[in-house]
């Protein structure tokens, strides 16, 4: 591991290869010190820098030039230097700016989560939950766009779009024959084909998976179910076009939806073709491998049953000590005694279980 350089993010030091971005270095650490990313996508060249949610403070430029950077920088597009010190959750400036960005992303968002198929796996929901406010200060009509039909497979809801450009890069880099793009400019910029064309490339369905919000959803799954009621399982088939490695979203024996498998940052592991995604909706089309590992802390994990990974607790490392407890619940409550493992009890717990000692 020669030529590794060191960068410190929120007091945690990590060694990375030169050329690594701050965001990628933070992902190596994981947990809360990793800035959120709404537009950056490691598998799409040129992506990132636009949404500004991953802004961080560089409090020390490098060992050679320790001057801090004057402005907050987009961690997804800023390469690290040796000895760089970065503040993410330890910088009040960053948290303030991030709250501002979330507010900006939401002022014109329709907030139609109750009827949105993305709800439950929406990165904007997660982001608002973590960094947003509980009410809006925006008192004007929200921006709306005319509906555009882009074919039988993909539903475009421009009102929900945050203009991350991911779908544009996807079409460029996967299909080589892009037919949709960003039209107009400023706050009227919109994803569109301009001529109401149906997108029909074999791999265009991947735009659904890369979309961080509900702007591009699967028409074959539209209004069929809520994602948290379905169970994700990993499956594969022999596909002549793609790897055939997918994730099925099932309820009982019924396959409601097919997507690519995503890693813990919500990024697609391997792109899949339209046939796998839209046409193979029978359990018998697939060889099921087993339950998917879900470790995003989204609502999907809540309805899940197995393999949910507990998030690591970085707090002691970030603040350099164990957090002080205002009160230890065990001191005042007879319930939840440290020495009783509730899961080991036979049947429901009773008060008598806590009285034993």
């Amino acid at each position: 591991m020669s030529e590794q350089i060191k960068v410190t993010i929120d007091n945690i030091t990590v060694a990375v290869a030169p050329g690594t971005t701050i965001l990628q270095a933070a992902r190596q650490i994981g947990g809360e010190v990793t800035p959120p990313a709404m537009c950056y996508y490691s598998k799409l060249e040129g992506s990132g820098g636009k949404c500004r949610t991953c802004l961080v403070e560089v409090s020390k430029g490098s060992e050679k030039d320790p001057r801090p950077m004057p402005k907050l920088v987009a961690s997804c597009r800023t390469p690290v230097s040796d000895g760089m010190e970065v503040k993410n959750i330890t910088s009040p400036k960053v948290l303030d700016a991030r709250a501002g960005i979330v507010e900006m992303l939401l002022i014109n968002h329709p907030l139609d989560c109750p009827v949105c198929d993305q709800a439950g796996e929406c990165h904007l929901q997660d982001l608002s939950y973590e960094h947003g406010a509980s009410s809006t200060r925006y008192e004007f009509d929200r921006r709306t766009f005319e509906k555009e039909d882009i074919g039988p497979y993909i539903q475009l809801h421009m009102n929900r779009c945050i203009l991350c450009y991911r779908c544009v890069y996807t079409a460029d880099q996967l299909t080589g024959k892009r037919e949709h793009g960003v039209l107009d400019r400023g706050d009227h910029a919109a994803i569109s084909t301009c001529i109401g064309k149906a997108l029909d490339n074999d791999f265009i369905g991947n735009v659904i998976d890369v979309c961080p919000v509900g702007a591009l959803t699967d028409k074959t799954f539209r209004f069929k179910n809520r994602v948290w009621f379905t169970k994700p399982v990993d499956a594969h088939r022999d596909c002549p076009t793609c790897s055939g490695k997918t994730r099925l979203w099932m309820r009982g024996d019924e396959v409601y939806r097919v997507t690519a498998r995503k890693d813990k940052w919500g990024e697609v592991e391997e792109w899949i073709c339209n046939t796998c995604r839209f046409d193979k909706k029978q359990a018998s089309d697939w060889k099921i491998e087993g339950p998917s590992k879900i470790d995003r802390h989204s609502v999907i994990a809540q309805g899940h049953y197995e393999g949910v990974l507990k998030p690591q607790n970085f707090l002691p490392e970030v603040i350099g000590r164990n957090p002080k407890l205002l009160m230890n619940i065990h001191d005042v409550s007879g319930v939840n005694k440290n020495d009783i493992e509730l899961s080991k009890l036979n049947g429901p717990a009773h008060s008598s279980d806590f009285d034993k000692k």
Partner: protein, 164 residues
């Protein structure tokens, strides 16, 4: 089908020759200007597809660019477009009154075209003639230090010219 004349096609080749080989996409904006002047003052899909074919780029690349720049019209416009500046410095010198006067005189709102297809009113943002305010762009040129009388005169001249 829309087609540039032979002379225009030579001009197109001369424009493309300004850029290194393989960078012909750089000619897109100049070609869109030429197309808009040639094919009725606005860019329809057919025109944009034609430009895409000339430059061997994807049609969506043309749509994206054409819709970004405010000088390209994506919808039909009148024969003469009054692009009146309404930004700060012009506003200080009475551009609001000029716009209101044109609206009243022509009986149209901003963005509309007169029934005879002669005039479109389009309030625009700063055109870089702040010292000569209020002003508007009319075709290739600027009309500066506008007054109501000057507006009357411009409209009259254009109306007369269109009759011949």
């Amino acid at each position: 089908m829309k087609q540039f004349s032979a002379e225009q096609l030579n001009q197109v080749q001369a424009i493309i020759a300004r850029y290194p080989e393989g960078k012909q996409k750089s000619a897109l904006i100049p070609l869109l200007h030429l197309a808009q002047e040639t094919f009725g003052g606005w860019l329809d899909t057919e025109t944009m597809d034609y430009i895409a074919a000339l430059l061997t780029i994807k049609p969506i690349e043309v749509y994206e660019v054409a819709s970004f720049y405010s000088m390209f019209h994506m919808k039909p416009v009148g024969k003469h477009v009054f692009e009146v500046c309404q930004t700060g410095p012009c506003m200080l010198n009475g551009s609001d009154e000029i716009i209101a006067y044109i609206k009243e005189k022509l009986g149209i709102e901003a963005g509309q075209t007169t029934a005879d297809g002669l005039f479109t009113l389009k309030p625009v943002e700063c055109l870089g003639a702040c010292g000569y305010a209020p002003m508007m762009q009319l075709g290739k040129h600027y009309k500066e230090f506008l007054t109501k009388e000057k507006v009357d005169q411009i409209i009259e001249e254009l109306r007369t010219a269109s009759k011949h």
